[in-house]
Amino acid sequence: MIDQQAQNKIKTEEYFINMGPQHPAAHGVLRLILTIDGEIIKNVEPDLGYIHRSIEKMCERDSYQQIVHLTDRMDYLSSHINNEAVCLTVEKGLEIEVSDRVKVIRTIIDELTRIASHCLWWGVMGMDLGALTTYFYAFRDREMINDIFEETCGARLTMNYNVPGGLMFDIHPNFVKRTKDFITHFKTKIPEYDRLLTGNVIFQKRTKGVGILTREDAISFGVSGPTARGSGFSSDVRKHHPYSAYDRVNFNEILFTEGDTFARYQVRMMELWESVSIIEQLIDNIPEGETKAATKAVIKLPKGEFYQRVETARGELGVYINSTGNKNPYRVKFRSPGFSNLSVLNHISKDVLIGDLVATMASFDFVIPDIDR
């Protein structure tokens, strides 16, 4: 009888499917090797190396000023924050104290970068879930930030505005006015984002209870940034290890305890408000002062190890420099947020549908060149 049933049962078989390196949901050249049973995912194996440029090795060849420019190309959406991380590390090694003006300007641009990055994430999140209009709404506002950047430092995405010891040059005279205009404009647009996507029944059904990451898992996998804060893991470097001007502004660290895709979504949406509030606190009182501390033309860090961490739009970026006292570092290591966040994907994507994996990935906000340096 049992044999008969076993024979009558239709034989099913798991199969492999490549999600990427060219796939609309991979946002770049991430390749996920999925093991699928029907539409249910059994295993997710990320395969990296499609955009590996050996930035860490190139850093060993270059001078400290040149390293800054390479970091733009890691997490290109937080390029200014990456630059700042290297500059802060070098400044730590040289024991330079940058002026207050530099600190405040760096913080304002950090937060503008974070808004721009979260805007892009919001647009793409909607697009991954099939709501194509979000992308254009988000880009309308992101474009204004890019214009501000372009006016101040000549570049829109890979900014290279930081140099060890300060800023490359002072802000444009229009910077303060345009930033204020943007903040006024953007405060009317965040509720519009919520009306279009957050409150949508289908969107909430797609994201609530999907891809649940517990606090314990978040800590043990080294997850950081909004992804970790969606699981209730307080990990904001700006709060716990303040750098630049973050110790003189009031802002909340957004924490949600649900750990699902919708919680991660809400963390980022609330962070938009926090970023706006940080900029508002700083924009009216940028102190006067030098924009660049005097450094030697050839920077030589003293012998030793230097580490600095910053909060990028995706999480904690750590820069480790091991110097032997030469004009080049002996070893540079970047602790990028994307790589650690990706490592947890397989753990939380077992036995879910393909659509859920796409939603989860969208809420992690991967930037592939950041994962694969």
Binding site: L129, Y135, I202, K205, L353
Partner: protein, 359 residues
């Protein structure tokens, strides 16, 4: 059987049909006229399909703070013509190890089933190629053939994404077919006929059916629009070609004109669903409140097209606003909510008719 009754009895068509009957034996003339009508319809719907694509692109642009196509021709009017020309002239590529026969057959299945449904549409009182007494039944039957083409395309492409897309299409169409059928049945209960022209005639005196049957009618209309959107595989039910999950779904491996067939069929299907809704709920070619009923020269087809375009705009609005459902949520919506609601709605409608509560 005299085929002249079936075509547009404007003077020019009358002249043509008289002339054809005068130069040919009667049987040959009938067949010639049938072919001419078919060709006319084909041309009409190639153009309709292309302009619906343009409309979609323009509507999408309005929703998305863009301008939309505006370079080819005034207001971009020739854009989709140029696209179609490009697609016709493109090489038809395919991968190895495909099932050649089924692979080539699939696009024709989809487009032919879409075009056949057009035959019974009452564009105006006289402009109807084929007024059969089971018109509604014919429409449901024909519109469910298209899914076979999609399944064939996914199966024969030798591509896992295409296969997943096709399987999703199968379960989606089979599920939502029920809701489409039952909501149409609710309205048929009210009219007591399956013939499209008679359904419209029933609305001449009593008002549009959506008002005649009040609550059950409105429920039926809402279910029909949801299920109809799912039938045409459009967002938020576009799981079949969910581009962020499956690349392009079932037509991943198709190129050139074969791809264009799938693409055009989607838009013609949208036209079909809207047309059925207009006939069943909004009085077909009847003017609202009979405002142009006494104007002899006023084309009734104008009202039909205006109503259809209104509903098409509604479907486009869905597409550019909503995120996509997940595959299990899609089935939950149908089997747990729409289907029981629909069955209750039929009973409700029967009670309404039995108690003579119709307006």
């Amino acid at each position: 059987m005299n085929f002249t009754q079936m075509i547009i009895p404007l003077n020019i068509t009358k002249t043509i049909s008289d002339w054809i009957y005068s130069i040919m034996p009667e049987t040959a003339a009938s067949y010639t006229i049938m072919v001419i009508i078919a060709v006319a319809y084909l041309a009409l719907f190639a153009v309709a399909g292309l302009y619906l694509v343009l409309l979609e692109r323009k509507v999408a642009a309005w929703f998305q703070l863009r301008i939309g196509p505006n370079r080819v021709g005034p207001w971009g009017l020739l854009q989709t013509m140029a696209d179609a020309l490009k697609l016709v002239s493109k090489e038809l590529t395919s991968t190895i190890k495909i099932d050649k026969f089924l692979y080539n057959l699939a696009p024709y299945f989809v487009i032919v089933s879409a075009l056949m449904a057009m035959a019974v549409f009452p564009f105006s009182e006289q402009f109807q190629a084929f007024d059969i007494n089971i018109g509604v039944f014919f429409l449901i039957a024909i519109s469910s053939i298209g899914v076979i083409g999609i399944l064939l395309a996914g199966w024969s492409s030798n591509n896992k994404y295409a296969l997943i897309g096709a399987m999703r299409s199968g379960l989606q169409t089979i599920s939502y077919e029920l809701s489409v059928g039952l909501s149409i049945l609710t309205m048929v209960l009210l009219t007591g006929t399956l013939q499209l022209s008679e359904i419209i005639e029933a609305q001449r005196t009593g008002g549009w059916l959506i008002l005649q049957g009040h609550v059950p009618s409105i429920i039926a209309f809402m279910i029909f629009m949801v299920a109809g959107t799912a039938e045409t595989n459009r967002a938020p039910f576009d799981l079949v070609e969910a581009e962020s999950e499956l690349g392009a779904g079932f037509h991943t491996e198709y190129s050139g004109m074969k791809f264009a067939y799938f693409f055009l069929a989607e838009f013609i299907n949208m036209f079909i669903i809207s047309s059925i809704a207009v006939v069943l709920f909004f009085g077909g070619w009847l003017s609202p409140f009979g405002i142009t009923e006494n104007i002899a020269w006023f084309p009734q087809v104008f009202w039909f097209l205006i109503k259809v375009l209104g509903l098409i705009f509604l479907m486009m609005w869905f597409r550019w606003t909503f995120p996509r459902l997940r595959v299990d949520q899609l089935l939950t919506l149908e089997w747990k909510y729409l289907l029981p609601l629909n069955l209750m709605n039929i009973v409700l409608m029967a009670i309404v008719i039995w108690l003579n509560w119709t307006i």
